[in-house]
């Protein structure tokens, strides 16, 4: 693997995504939702605060818009990653790139790295803005370190689940050369994982979907351990989510390897 080439492709991909109108559109909506959550959602936080004099109320500020944030970020991630390779095929730029002394795996890794870095920064920005809106309109946390750990953990698991979405949708984009099919498949994925109950389709296999794994990390109904419950020690939460985080990482690597394998074998035309 040529790290320099991967870095260059990642840089190009990062610039492409950050200037994409889809991302701008999603970013504006997410910031608006985060602002509404801070300015309009404090009545619920006040109620939690009156019954529970801990930092749980401040942390619940994230949980209040967890569903709507995850859904929109999944839409953005799925479409941006599914269309990245089909667009380059359509424009013919992939053929120019592949004519260079470049391994196909470096191309896929670079694309993935660019998208992954972008999602990390995007999610960090959105989560920090959400936290800021809650602090401005409600109150700050009593334990800064506990709050910081949990916010960092939230960003980490959220980003990992988005990375899995990237790997999955990039694979769809590698399998099909038809942009219409790829966008429709990305949309179908979004519906199954975010809007419909994936367990209705997939049964016990639904545990493998990014949203289910993220949901398990944020709040596990079987063990009643949640990231946003300040009464549960952070270490206790961390040890309970290790299996799910491991599964996220393993799935991501497998899908990425499958994408590299398929892309390396296909005819460049």
């Amino acid at each position: 693997m040529n790290a320099m080439i991967v870095y260059k492709i990642a840089q190009m991909e990062f610039v492409r995504v950050i200037t994409s109108p889809i991302v701008l559109f999603a970013g504006i909506i997410l910031l608006f939702i985060a602002f509404l959550n801070g300015a309009g959602g404090i009545d619920t936080l006040d109620y939690i605060s009156s019954t529970d004099n801990t930092d749980t109320a401040v942390l619940k500020g994230f949980q209040q818009i967890f569903g709507s944030t995850v859904m929109l970020l999944t839409i953005t991630t799925a479409f941006v990653s599914a269309t990245t390779i089909p667009y380059e095929r359509w424009k013919g730029s992939v053929n120019v790139l592949l004519a260079k002394p470049l391994y196909r795996r470096d191309y896929i890794l670079g694309k993935f790295a660019g998208l992954a870095m972008f999602m990390l920064l995007f999610i960090t920005f959105i989560v920090l803005f959400t936290g800021l809106a809650v602090i401005v309109y409600f109150r700050g946390p009593q334990s800064i370190s506990g709050y910081a750990w949990r916010v960092m953990a939230y960003i980490t698991v959220f980003t990992l689940s988005c990375w899995l979405v990237i790997a999955l949708n990039m694979l769809i984009g590698i399998i099909s050369k038809n942009i219409l099919f790829v966008t429709a498949a990305a949309m179908t994925y979004f519906f199954i994982d975010s809007i419909w109950y994936s367990n209705r389709f997939l049964g016990f296999l639904s545990i493998l979907t990014p949203q289910t794994l993220l949901g398990k990390c944020i709040y596990n109904a079987n063990t009643s351990i949640g990231l946003f419950d300040s009464l549960i020690p952070f270490g206790h939460w961390l040890s309970s989510v290790i299996p799910y985080v491991s599964l996220l990482i393993i799935e991501m690597i497998l899908l990425l390897l499958a994408g590299i394998y398929l892309f390396s074998r296909e005819d460049s035309n």
Binding site: I33, I65, S68, F79, F201
Partner: protein, 279 residues
């Protein structure tokens, strides 16, 4: 009129011969069988304590399974067809050829809308037929006493689902006419679904109402969501004390709202298609 019917027929055949649509239809047919199999396990007592509906009327519960499935899956079909009907012709430059023919532009869009709606009608009937056949095969005995309730609801559900899918069809058609990039058009259409979902289930409308109190924003925004109308329809149809007619009349105001959304979307599509350079 003849030209409209010709374009409608071509649109119907195009959609039906689209491999992606066929793939989705096969997927949904498979899903129908899994749903009905699950239903049969519950009604045959395979899962003690579980119920298929709100009460003991299996016919009402079975019909509601169809309504759930068609409103959920219909949304995705509506968006795919709404976006692809213009995008595929634009990508293949067939739209330019069509526009240069001695045809009014409104003839083209009328034909496309009629063809798409006819396809949806055929799709709904197909799924209903598959459901009915599967119900009768898997759990005919449990369903037999309630067949009148089951069949009496289907025509009203057909009308409701057709209008519901039509809303997403008209919105995605409008977006694909406005936005040249097909992926962005599809994202925007999906964002409509997102808003439809979050305005009901999440706290966005309540938060907005808290910021601007006294304007009734929570009810207004939730009411604008097609999902809220569908949720209300699911509830009304789920109760066996509502016979098919009374259930239909109870959801009629919501259906009128959906129809209005669909008509507004289509009128805007007309305006964009006739006035704008869409090539």
């Amino acid at each position: 009129m003849r030209n409209v019917l010709l374009i409608a027929r071509k649109e119907f055949v195009d959609i039906l011969s689209n491999r992606m649509v066929l793939f989705v239809l096969v997927l949904f047919t498979f899903y129908v069988f899994t749903l009905v199999y699950d239903f049969s396990i519950v009604v045959n007592g395979g899962r003690p304590g579980a119920k298929v509906g709100l009460d003991d009327n299996n016919g009402v519960a079975a019909a509601n399974y169809i309504l759930y499935m068609l409103t959920w899956c219909g949304t995705i079909i509506g968006i795919i067809i709404g976006c692809s009907t213009i995008s595929t012709e634009r990508m293949g430059s067939a739209l330019n050829t069509l526009i240069t023919k001695p045809l009014y532009r409104d003839t083209i869009i009328n034909g496309k809308i009629i063809g798409s709606l006819l396809f949806f009608a055929a799709y709904i009937l197909f799924i209903m037929a598959i459901f009915t056949a599967a119900f009768l095969v898997f759990c005919g005995n449990a369903l037999a006493p309630y067949l009148a309730d089951y069949f009496s609801r289907l025509p009203f559900m057909f009308i409701f689902v057709l209008i519901y899918i039509g809303v997403f069809l008209s919105l995605s058609l409008l977006v694909s006419l406005l936005v040249r990039d097909q992926a962005i058009a599809m994202v925007i259409s999906v964002v409509f679904v997102y808003f439809s979902e979050v305005l009901v289930g999440q706290s966005i409308s309540r938060n907005l109402s808290n910021i601007l109190p006294g304007l009734g924003l929570e009810g207004l925004l939730s009411g604008l969501s097609p999902k809220s109308v569908a949720t209300q329809a699911h509830l009304v149809f789920a109760h066996s004390w509502n016979d098919a007619y009374s259930a239909f009349f109870k959801i009629l105001p919501g259906m009128e709202k959906l129809l209005l959304f669909m008509v507004i979307g289509m009128i805007l599509s007309y305006i964009v298609f006739v006035k704008r350079d869409i090539s």
